[in-house]
Amino acid sequence: MPRDRYQNRIELLQGTLDMLVLRALRAGPRHGYGITQTIAAGSRDVLQVETGSLYPALHRMEKRGLVVAEWALTDFNQRAKFYRLTPAGRRQLEAERARWDLMAEAITRLMNAKDSEAPA
């Protein structure tokens, strides 16, 4: 088995995958492949979601009622399973977004702090 097949180019911080997927779905229903493309494009190819992480995440969120899925045709007339945000998913996204902002702000502040302010 070749190495590192399931590791992201930049390892996603624990718990951020769900948020990214929910964010990708906010603009409208998407299938799994579409989600990877959206995330890749939106991050200028820095973030690559592996299928081995994406599909478990999608199915887990479907089970928790954050997304619902239905089969539909793509623009190119292909059958695919489309995931759509539920109201619960939307709330979850807001919550995770808030938490992320808080953390990002905190980390940024910490990293930019002058040395005298840093904890000993």
Partner: protein
């Protein structure tokens, strides 16, 4: 209900996931083609990017969670897939477990038949054996008056019943000559109290079993009904002749109920009152005729200890009332199992030995599988780490691994049951050579299957837990970063320990089984004290066709005369007993002038009633005095011949010739005229037993064996002797027509041979399994050390040096294991020989040969991997990793 629905929906969900993944790939490919890649390139790139489809589906499905049953189904599917990917592992595991579990199932089936299987009666736990405890017997029978007294004056039992075994001659309407069969004579209420229904027809009615000497009715065993009446229900109401009296068949017993003794399966069941013939001193009134096996059903709420206490009080009362007879007789209530053990301690020893050997084989087998699992843990460490990384719980992984182990164990258990089937056929052959069915009903029934399944589940836990625990405790990051999940040294240590213990246990197994084989060799070479094997035997009981003693005596005198005239007969003799089958008659004697210790006043000795030609015909040497002659008649003084053992015990250090002993209640004196060599009477492994011969002329018998020694093949005597019988009485039944050599080999050599074969098979199976273990480990370590060997050879190590390096590993493992095993086998052997007489001492040869041989073959098993190590090319070895 919901989980059931989900279960039905499950295949759809699986298909849907597959569709989803396919769609993903199709979309990715289409995208790439749009960007200008060739379809082939796009396909390959998309698949590469997607990763392992099976694994992705696998880990995604894990998110479904759902009902535990569904998870189980999933685990099982996953396990089956994993196992299919490693057929080598599966094959070794199946063969190992098949042998191990097969050996256990077979051993348990024997143990079950001999000891554990309860009587097929209603609520058997509430039925206890009520037995006499005397200085002679731990489980003694009771007399009929004792039974009646117990029934009327004890309160612990809701019912007390009894039975005695007897041989009967039965003839169907169409049979010209009756056949000999075992009958169980039962007291009234026997089947009601035990709760045994009739399979066909009905049970005995109260009046049929209560009043003496009337209503001759009989029930048949299922086995006899099948074999002699073709299982025809019309047998009810039919008349059969039993001991020349007409009996009406009223019922057939269920196939599961085969009497009270596990070794003896009666064909007929008769109310004991029906066999009360007028005139003879009645068994029903004699307090000193102890013939009844008694069972009592405990009254609700009464414990076995309470019953025991009441019986003790009752026994003291009996001893007061009948001091002559009941002075040393205690009474005891015990479970059927305890009674069986107390009745025949050697049975327990043999059964225990076989169970032990089988357990050792199973341990070696499990060690093999565990060792392989540990080896596989390396290859699977990354798979496990990935699954942990994407959020599968450690518990989940452990369960997954355990499911896999259980699958292996289940398949192994199945293979084991198949193997056991063959072994049980072998055990079933352990029948004594008689016309009446005698021997254990060894069978593969539900209880045995449960034991087999239990063994496999225990095996699964044993070999599944270790790798599961190691994997679950693994260092995740290390595993993802490197190839190895576990620090190599500690796992190799684990496998080394396993292999050393395998070898050690194998050594114990080999020592024990070669001791058994040795003992059996000695048995085969043993002199049974019967030189003449060219002997034909015939058995008669003229009482069955209505003869009285006078007519029977006349018949035998004519018979033996005619037999001696048959051409080819060198000599012929009459005897009441023959070695290697239960001797039902013994004599209570008081040696003159001998001081007994304690309360003993007499000794019981098995007796054989013979005529003047017996020693000449059977070739038993006389060491002193004379044989009986035609001059010893009913009118001359009573004489006897004893064997050396009896002489040594009661006339130590002097010649017993012309000494006397007393027999019977009247203490009639008998003079010893000869001493015969001590032979083997019950089994070839027995310690020397006392034995007594009395002259037929002074002790008339109706049931006798005619033994005819031949100059040529003894079977040739069969038809002329039978012709002679018919010329005397065409209706005379003849039983057990056999040549003595066949009888001897079946009866005397059969059981120890089967035992030895089983022990030998266990030894060989253990050896093979242990060798597989050594081979597997050395092979594994060679593949791990490829790089090291490459470097060694690159810097100048010769092929011979590498070969030695690998062989040394196997040698050290085998040596440590073998020495440990030999050290272990000494106490094990002591424990075994304490329970089995005739095993002899542990031969020094065995103690040297077993470790030497074991180390030798273990090193040989390392030869192939060692050769492989020498063929490692340094350049290739260094490039790998």
């Amino acid at each position: 209900m919901r989980s059931l629905l989900r279960l039905f929906r499950r295949p759809d969900r699986h298909a849907e996931l597959d569709d989803e993944i396919r769609a993903h790939l199709a979309l990715a490919i289409a995208d790439r083609v749009n960007r200008g890649e060739s379809p082939e390139q796009a396909d390959a790139a998309a698949r590469r990017e997607f990763g392992n489809v099976t694994t992705v589906a696998e880990v995604t499905r894990e998110m479904w969670g759902g009902a535990s049953f569904e998870r189980l189904v999933h685990d099982v599917r996953y396990g089956v897939r994993t196992l299919r990917r490693s057929p080598g592992f599966l094959a070794v595991a199946l063969i190992s477990l098949g042998l191990g579990i097969g050996a256990n199932t077979a051993a348990f089936s024997l143990a079950d038949a001999a000891l554990f299987r309860p009587l097929a009666i209603d609520d058997p736990d509430r039925v206890v054996v009520v037995a006499a405890r005397t200085p002679r017997a731990a489980v003694g029978n009771l007399s009929y008056p004792e039974l009646r007294d117990l029934q009327s004056s004890t309160r612990s039992f809701s019912g007390l019943v009894a039975a005695r075994t007897s041989r009967m001659a039965i003839a169907r309407a169409t049979d010209p000559v009756p056949q000999m069969r075992f009958a169980l004579l039962v007291s009234d209420g026997f089947f009601d109290v035990l709760g045994v229904p009739a399979a066909v027809g009905r049970r005995f009615l109260p009046h049929e079993a209560r009043t003496r000497g009337r209503e001759p009715v009989v029930m048949l065993s299922h086995e006899y009904w099948q074999s002699h009446f073709g299982g025809d229900p019309a047998v009810i109401g039919a008349t059969v002749r039993i001991n020349a009296r007409p009996f009406t068949v009223v019922g057939v017993l269920p196939a599961t109920f085969t009497g009270l003794n596990q070794f003896l399966r009666p064909s007929l069941f008769i109310p004991m009152t029906a066999m009360d013939t007028a005139g003879t001193p009645s068994f029903f009134d004699r307090r000193d005729e102890f013939a009844l096996m008694v069972r009592g059903r405990l009254r609700p709420g009464v414990t076995i200890d309470q019953a025991q206490a009441e019986l003790e009080v009752f026994a003291r009362a009996l001893a007061r009332d009948y001091p002559e007879i009941n002075r040393d007789r205690g009474l005891a209530a015990m479970s059927e199992f305890r009674a069986r053990v107390a009745d025949a301690p050697p049975t327990l020893a043999i059964v225990g030995l076989l169970l032990l050997l089988a357990a050792l084989v199973l341990f070696i087998a499990c060690a093999n599988v565990a060792s392989l699992q540990l080896g596989r843990a390396r290859a699977r460490s990354r798979e496990m780490a990935v699954r942990l990384a994407i959020g599968a719980g450690r518990l989940r992984l452990v369960r997954q691994l355990m499911t896999e182990s259980l699958l292996v164990a289940g398949a192994g258990g199945l293979a084991g049951v198949v193997a056991a089937y063959g072994a049980i056929g072998l055990l079933g052959a352990m029948q004594l050579p008689t016309d009446t069915p005698l021997g254990l009903a060894v069978q593969l029934d539900v209880r045995v299957l449960v034991a087999g399944v239990g063994a496999s589940m225990a095996a699964a836990c044993l070999f599944g837990l270790v790798p599961a625990w190691k994997t679950a405790g693994a260092n995740l990051v290390g595993a993802l970063k490197s190839q190895d999940l576990l620090p190599g040294r500690s796992r190799l240590l684990g496998r080394n320990l396993l292999v050393v213990s395998q070898i050690a246990i194998c050594a114990v197994l080999l020592v024990v089984s070669s001791a058994l084989v040795d003992a059996f060799r000695r048995v085969e070479a043993a002199d049974p004290g019967l030189r003449a094997m060219q002997v034909m035997m015939f058995e008669f009981d003229p009482v069955l066709v209505g003869y009285d003693q006078a007519r029977a005596t006349q018949f035998y005198r004519l018979l033996v005369d005619r037999a001696r005239q048959v051409p080819g007969v060198r000599s012929a003799t009459l005897a009441s007993a023959i070695p290697f089958r239960p001797n039902y008659s013994d004599e209570e004697i008081v040696p003159e002038g001998y001081q007994f210790a304690g309360h003993e006043r007499s000794v019981r000795v098995p007796v054989n009633i013979i005529d003047d030609q017996h020693f000449a015909t059977m070739g038993t040497p006389l060491v002193a005095g004379r044989a009986f002659t035609t001059a010893d008649t009913a009118e001359t003084p009573a004489v006897a011949i004893i064997n050396e053992e009896l002489a040594a015990r009661y006339w130590p250090g002097r010649s017993p010739i012309a000494q006397r002993f007393f027999v019977g209640p009247e203490r009639r004196p008998v003079e010893i005229v000869g001493v015969a060599q001590t032979g083997k009477y019950g089994s070839l492994t027995e310690a020397p037993q006392p034995y007594l011969y009395l002259p037929l002329a002074q002790r008339p018998r109706t049931r006798l064996l005619l033994l005819a020694a031949s100059d040529g093949p003894p079977l040739a005597l069969t038809s002329p002797v039978l012709d002679a019988v018919r010329s005397l009485d065409p209706n005379q039944p003849v039983f057990n027509v056999r040549d003595f050599r066949t009888y001897y080999e079946q009866g005397a050599l059969g059981p120890p041979r089967v035992l030895t074969q089983m022990a030998g098979a266990a030894g060989i199976a253990g050896l093979c399994l242990a060798l597989v273990g050594v081979y597997g480990l050395v092979n594994y370590s060679v593949s791990r050390r490829t790089r090291e060997f490459g470097i060694r050879m690159a810097i100048g190590a010769s092929r011979g040096a590498v070969l030695r390096l690998v062989l040394t590993q196997g040698f050290v493992l085998a040596l440590v294991g073998a020495l440990l095993g030999v050290a272990l086998s000494a106490p094990v052997f002591l424990a075994i020989s304490a329970g089995m007489s005739g095993l002899g001492a542990l031969s020094r040869w065995t103690l040297v040969a077993v470790p030497l041989g074991l180390v030798g073959v273990a090193v040989a098993a390392c030869w192939a991997p060692a050769r492989r190590a020498t063929r490692i090319s340094p350049t290739i070895a260094l490039r790998t990793e």
